[in-house]
């Protein structure tokens, strides 16, 4: 076996340039997914009529199918819908002018939404019911109580899971290479086939992902310490 | 006969047992009393090497284990001669009452299933739990769980049963049933060493009382002597406090009534 160690370094530098795209594909879906997650959680906790079942199905379906399916369904299905609408309403607009990245972001946002809703729900359910009652007892509305009292505590509880989902999505973003996105894995693929050094390129990519994961674990550990300051027992 | 010679144990640099000597004759029931932190539970756990003493020897039924050179095999042999009843019962959660009692017979004593089952039913009858044989521990009250714990120990027919505060974790109304079972098996002539806070029970059931404080045996003797004529100041103080607490409890009760 010959491994070109030096080439791993070259590849590392080349592939690293794709980091911004990986970050976009990781973070944008998580942020949109967070908002979707809050919406879904409220629907599920309040058992909103009609929407409740839909929300349950959405979460169950997304969690029950691979993320690759979500990307493909949106990437292949949404253009059909858009072109049809464009045809009906005579828009001078075609789906081909939409970059694929946008579809990837939309699809992964839907993916993230389902997982986020589970995390947020678990966080909210973990907050003592007494907190809500105490907030309402001093005259807060239910909305105020949720936003000012319950939610901040729920997020602190959910922090480890939020870190996990970040790492999960960092890795999931690699799937985007299948629809030819030049994020880390896509870049590794290009470096690999251009130089016919597959193993070295993927080792380099692996090192970058691994490094990013370790950094995010360390950051979470720090955040966790800060977020749960109020949770410490004792007086000191 | 059980003999402890110069048992010493320290945690970190704190000496919790300062060289204990104790002899328990066959068929005797010995209770170890003393304030919390006196080292009595540690002493009990040293007898079956759940805590390994730093110094000293344990002899059970002519089999001696030296703390310095005890091999795994020797410790195992020692444990086969003893059995323990725990404060928190520690029943095997994933096994039924019956299986809990049979476990040691099957695995350690290599009895046949039939023999084990028969014996298990006998001891369960002794602790009055035959009808719970197929229940899981979680389905039992604390008192019932502890009675199973006693049955599990009894089934092994050990040289000695070590009881570590068997009623401390129980709700007050469940203490009685467990003490009653212990009393019954004591009357059968089974050797027992009991660490307990139940002073009046100890007085009632024991042939011999050991009073410990700060890692040492302060005073020992028959219940009559120890309870009626304690010599040591620390022993007297301990009983005085216990009596006062009992008195407070009683006056509380009477005020409720």
């Amino acid at each position: 076996m010959q491994i070109d160690i030096l080439f791993i370094f070259t590849a590392l530098i080349e592939i690293f340039k794709a980091l911004p795209l990986t970050m976009i594909i990781t973070l944008v879906p998580l942020m949109i997914g967070f908002l979707i997650g809050i919406g879904i959680t409220l629907i599920r906790i309040r058992k909103v009529k009609g929407l409740y079942r839909l929300a349950n199905f959405y979460v169950s379906f997304i969690r029950g199918t691979p993320a690759l399916m979500h990307i493909m369904l949106i990437y292949l299905g949404l253009p059909l819908l858009i072109d049809k609408l464009a045809g009906t309403f005579q828009w001078a607009f075609q789906s081909t002018s939409i970059p694929i990245l946008l579809f990837v972001l939309m699809a992964l946002s839907l993916t993230a939404g389902a997982y986020m809703s589970e995390i947020i729900r678990a966080g909210i359910l973990a907050v003592d019911q007494g907190q809500l009652e105490a907030a309402e007892s001093i005259g807060m509305t239910n909305f105020q109580a949720m936003r000012r009292i319950v939610f901040p505590q729920a997020i602190a509880v959910a922090l480890p899971n939020l870190c996990n989902i970040f790492i999960g999505f960092l890795h999931t973003s690699s799937i985007a290479f299948i629809v030819s996105q030049k994020e880390l894995t896509g870049a590794a693929n290009i470096v690999a086939s251009n130089n016919l050094k597959f193993l070295e390129a993927y080792i380099a990519a692996a090192l970058i992902y691994w490094g990013l994961t370790i950094i995010s674990e360390k950051v979470t550990a720090l955040l966790e310490k800060r977020a749960t300051v109020y949770n410490r027992g004792g007086v000191a | 006969m059980i003999q402890l010679r110069n048992i010493q144990k320290s945690f970190g640099n704190q000496l919790v047992l300062k060289g204990i000597d104790l002899t328990v004759n066959k068929g005797e029931v010995v209770s170890i009393l003393g304030p919390s932190g006196s080292g009595k539970t540690t002493l009990l756990r040293c007898i079956n090497f759940l805590e390994r003493p730093n110094e000293g020897e344990v002899m059970v039924d002519d089999f001696t284990v030296n703390s310095k050179q005890a091999s795994k095999k020797e410790i195992l042999t020692l444990r086969k001669k003893t059995a323990m009843v725990f404060q928190q019962y520690n029943l095997f959660k994933h096994k039924t009452v019956m299986e809990n009692v049979m476990e040691g017979l099957l695995v350690v004593q290599k009895s046949s299933k039939e023999t084990a089952r028969k014996l298990a039913m006998e001891v369960l009858a002794k602790v009055g739990l035959t009808e719970k044989a197929n229940a899981y521990p979680v389905q039992l009250s604390g008192g019932q769980q502890q009675r199973v714990g006693i049955a599990r120990a009894l089934a092994l027919n050990p040289e000695v049963i070590l009881l570590d505060e068997p009623t401390s974790a129980l709700d007050p109304e469940l203490v009685g049933e467990v003490l009653e079972v212990i009393k019954r098996i004591a009357d059968e002539g089974i050797t027992m060493i009991i660490v307990t806070h139940e002073v009046s029970f100890a007085k009632d059931v024991s042939d011999y009382i050991v009073f410990m404080d700060q890692g040492e045996i302060i005073e020992e003797g028959t219940p009559t002597v120890i309870f009626n004529y304690p010599k040591e100041e620390r022993t007297k103080r301990f009983f005085k406090r216990i009596n006062r607490e009992a008195g407070i409890l009683e006056s509380n009760l009477s005020s409720v009534i």
Binding site: M1, Q2, I3, R63, G64, T65, P66, A67, L68, M69, M72, L73, L76, G77, L80, L170, H171, T172, S173, S174, F177, I178, T185, A188, F198, L199, Y202, I203, A205, A206, Y209, W210, G211, L212, T213, I214 | L50, K72, L76, R79, K80, T82, A83, M84, F86, N90, L91, F92, K93, H94, K95, G104, V107, V108, Y136, P137, V138, A153, L156, L162
Partner: protein, 231 residues
């Protein structure tokens, strides 16, 4: 879009489900062996090996399954040429099974370790007090309880692996998704193919979830009414 095509594609794709399930079963089997071994190494802090185990777990947790798949696919044959074994023509299924097995192994190891540490100390003491040796204690008392406790996480992990198998086609495995791609090439109806695939995956996941929750009830029956959701 032609919805009726789904009915047409369904039998064609589901006839490849067994390949997907084969990958899953192989991965879980390999994963269990690795997982138990690594967990024991971590629990007993076996010198040297403990470090290796930590690095292994961190790496598997730190990299996407897709990258792991490529590393094994390109790396294993290269590694094996050192000992003069030629696997360059081996069925890609082999590489997939190994990759997913290694990946499962890492997550199972952490799940098992967590569960073993979650068994109360008193259980060990009780086992010792009736004269059990270390192996008997581990096999008869600790592991059965730990496995029952670990089961929900284990089930989640298996379902995650099932979904991960959808990426096996990238190294040329003819599983459901691989077959789907040939269908796309011949029919030019990609969306319908992916809709059919999604329905099949969803169906399988729902079945697995049902099966797991039934086994969980059975496994944890000793937890009685006090059973807690470990999620």
């Amino acid at each position: 879009m032609d919805i009726t095509l789904i009915i047409d594609f369904f039998p064609k794709l589901i006839s490849y489900l067994h390949i997907t399930l084969l990958i899953l079963v192989a991965a879980v089997a390999i994963g269990l062996i690795i997982g138990v071994t690594i967990a024991l190494i971590r629990i007993y802090k076996v010198p040297a090996f403990n470090r290796l185990a930590l690095i292994y777990i961190s790496f598997m947790r730190g990299t996407p399954i897709l990258i792991q798949l490529f590393l094994i696919y390109f790396g294993l044959p290269a590694l094996l040429t050192l000992v003069h074994i030629d696997v360059s023509r081996a069925n890609p299924l082999l590489f997939v099974a190994i990759t997913y097995g290694l990946s499962c192994g890492a997550s199972f190891a952490e799940i098992i370790r967590g569960a073993v540490n979650g068994v109360e100390r008193g259980q060990t003491e009780a086992a010792y007090s009736i004269g059990m040796n270390e192996k008997q204690m581990l096999v008869r008392i600790i592991l059965p309880q730990a496995l029952a406790m670990a089961f929900p996480n284990f089930a989640n992990s298996v379902i995650g692996s099932l979904k991960d198998t959808s990426l096996a086609f990238t190294i040329g495995v003819m599983d459901m998704v691989g077959r789907g791609n040939t269908l796309i090439a011949s029919s030019l109806h990609a969306l319908e193919v992916y809709m059919t695939l999604s329905i099949i995956y969803y169906g399988v996941v729902l079945c697995l979830e049902k099966g797991f929750s039934l086994s969980e009830k059975k496994l944890q029956r000793f937890e009685g009414s006090l059973a807690v959701d470990t999620k």
